[in-house]
Subunit: 354 residues, 2 copies
């Protein structure tokens, strides 16, 4: 009698599958669904085995591995950041990831995560802003109009209530693309000639620039009382977007302090510079915004838990819709102790050559 459980197949979701998934579900519903999971998972923060991501830096970019696990599921993401890639027609950021069973180590899902990363990053930004920005925020400056910008716009429209966008990018073609992509989506859009013009009157300022350099997109003179700053683009050592004094304008919130102190805007600050981990706000263990005049800063770098949430959403949704296909990423050996048997072929191939 064979009492073994059926071997779990690994589900593969490529880019084509993911496009189909997003088109079937709708991008706004995907962002909202991932945001819901992010909030639920951040609320149970202590249940996760967390570590700062492993980064491999080179002259032109970085390749990172981002693992995390709770008692049930292990996930990791592979993601690169190579700003010069666009010159060669390659995306700046490419990502994929895996969801596995902690109990057995079997990989259940292998998925593209380039599109998914844009969705989860926007979902994370908007989730933080829901809890940290001034209630009634309607106007957002969007500095950096590249690959992430449409996702940020839709997430803030649906989850925060943003109705007016003020755009700036050093590349006018990027802004023109964003304007075209946002047409008909219920957002009033203003193209601005400078960062200063873009942030004027904004309730929320989102920075999503890509250069791997210490830039100063925002300086203290641009910051008005009550603003919420959503700083997304500064996310590895030597890559920042905010002037250090901007971080002194109000409380700074981060995802996971040990990683943010290496990669985030706060890398510019002393090791004892106070930061609040966002999950503490969600669970009531730390205050968020305490007045309408306060400036709040979400110094976002992207944390593995957001990918865990996204991979769970994608896995459940793909299975519900019957998307993707099984792949033979690991062997379905008949006898687990007989790996050699998997190779069984003519024994002649294994004889001593000499």
């Amino acid at each position: 009698m064979d009492t073994r459980t059926p071997f779990p197949t690994t589900l593969y979701l490529g880019v084509d599958d993911m496009v189909r998934l997003v088109q079937r579900v709708g991008l706004p519903a995907c962002i909202a669904g991932v945001a819901e999971r992010i909030e639920a998972d951040f609320r149970r923060w202590p249940e996760f085995d967390k570590s700062a991501r492993l980064a491999c830096h080179s002259a032109d970019g970085v390749i990172e591995l981002m693992p995390i696990a709770d008692a049930e599921r292990f996930t990791f993401k592979y993601v690169n950041g190579h700003p010069k890639n666009t010159r060669a027609g390659l995306p700046t950021v490419m990502a994929f990831g895996v969801l596995a069973d902690v109990a057995t180590g079997a990989p259940r899902l292998l998925s593209e995560l380039t599109l998914t990363t844009a969705i989860r990053t926007a979902a994370m930004s908007a989730t933080a802003a829901r809890h940290l920005a001034r209630p009634g925020s309607r106007v957002m400056a969007l500095i950096g109009n590249g690959a992430q910008s449409e996702f940020q716009a839709i997430a803030f429209r649906d989850l925060v209530g943003i109705r007016e966008l003020r755009l700036f990018d050093t590349d006018p073609a990027a802004t023109a693309k964003l304007v075209a992509n946002l047409a008909g989506l219920g957002l009033s859009v203003t193209v601005c000639a400078s960062i200063r013009e873009a942030v004027r009157g904004a309730d929320i300022v989102t920075t999503v620039t890509a250069d791997k350099a210490n830039a100063t997109i925002l300086t203290p003179d641009l910051i008005a009382p009550g603003m919420h700053l959503n700083a997304v683009g500064g996310d590895c050592p030597g890559k920042t977007e905010l002037h250090a004094d901007v971080l002194r304008c109000g409380p700074v919130f981060v995802e996971y302090a040990p990683q943010s102190r290496i990669e985030g805007e706060v890398q510019q600050m002393p090791a004892d510079f106070p930061v609040t981990e966002f999950w503490q706000v969600l669970t009531g263990q730390a205050p968020g915004r305490t007045s309408a005049e306060q400036v709040t800063v979400f110094d976002s770098v992207g944390f593995a838990l957001e990918d865990y949430a996204a991979l769970g959403f994608v896995y459940d949704t793909a299975r519900a819709l019957g998307l993707g296909r099984g792949i033979d990423l690991v062997p379905q050996a008949v006898d687990p102790k007989d790996l050699f048997g998997v190779l069984r072929g003519p024994v002649e191939a294994l004889r001593i050559a000499a």
Copy 2:
């Protein structure tokens, strides 16, 4: 004019492809080919960006990520170790990995690595023994007759000159399987009733047991002058195979000391217990065996550089043989700044729900 380089497709090699590759090339040639790369890569050890692997431990096992890079290529392996998996008909160890371009972050190869790990582990063991065991070694004790054992047997037959194997496993069925699998491969095989009987007269003792526990497979009274010990199975915290005093019988060689002190047999020893990294022997920076009577210990845990070597072999061989197929793991966006455009569908799907 479009001056962009063609987007590199990711080659996928599943288990079926790998079986085909090994059958086409022959397992002995695969082991020899990987061993050659391991030796070449260990000789240029300082060129690699190395780190101890990231391990996620749970009650029943461990899931690890093993990244490494030189100036050209980044690789990582996902691998688990769940000894109880065999009871559910699952392999104890399942693995897959990726080879990527450091210059762009683009993943070039996604490959099964369960079979490949067995090949590279055997290739590493035999490469170390070639340089550390007594010249003319002919007899090997093989303690632990599970999934790795056939690979070790063939590697030591071809690369070290082993002609006689003495087998022991607590599970007689595992030994019977190994005996059957080795039939006709030019090795004289003796099934032994105890570890003591198996190691008697052996030039080399290979331990490849799988229990996640501090076991003492080998005690000092079993060790004869001149033996080379190839300790493969002790490879994570709390999982060892050698009595601590065995490590005092002669010089201990490791792959990468920072990882081995956490995971290897030497986890039992003080932090200043002397170990030699194997690459130092290869490059003449440290002595290997210094006499025929000396006992040498290779405390192997498996290091990312071995997977780097194996992934390179597999990638080049698969392309030469036309094996595997391209997959859409990352998007081939027309405009890298227009990730949103990849999702382009009916605009209705993106409107505000309310």
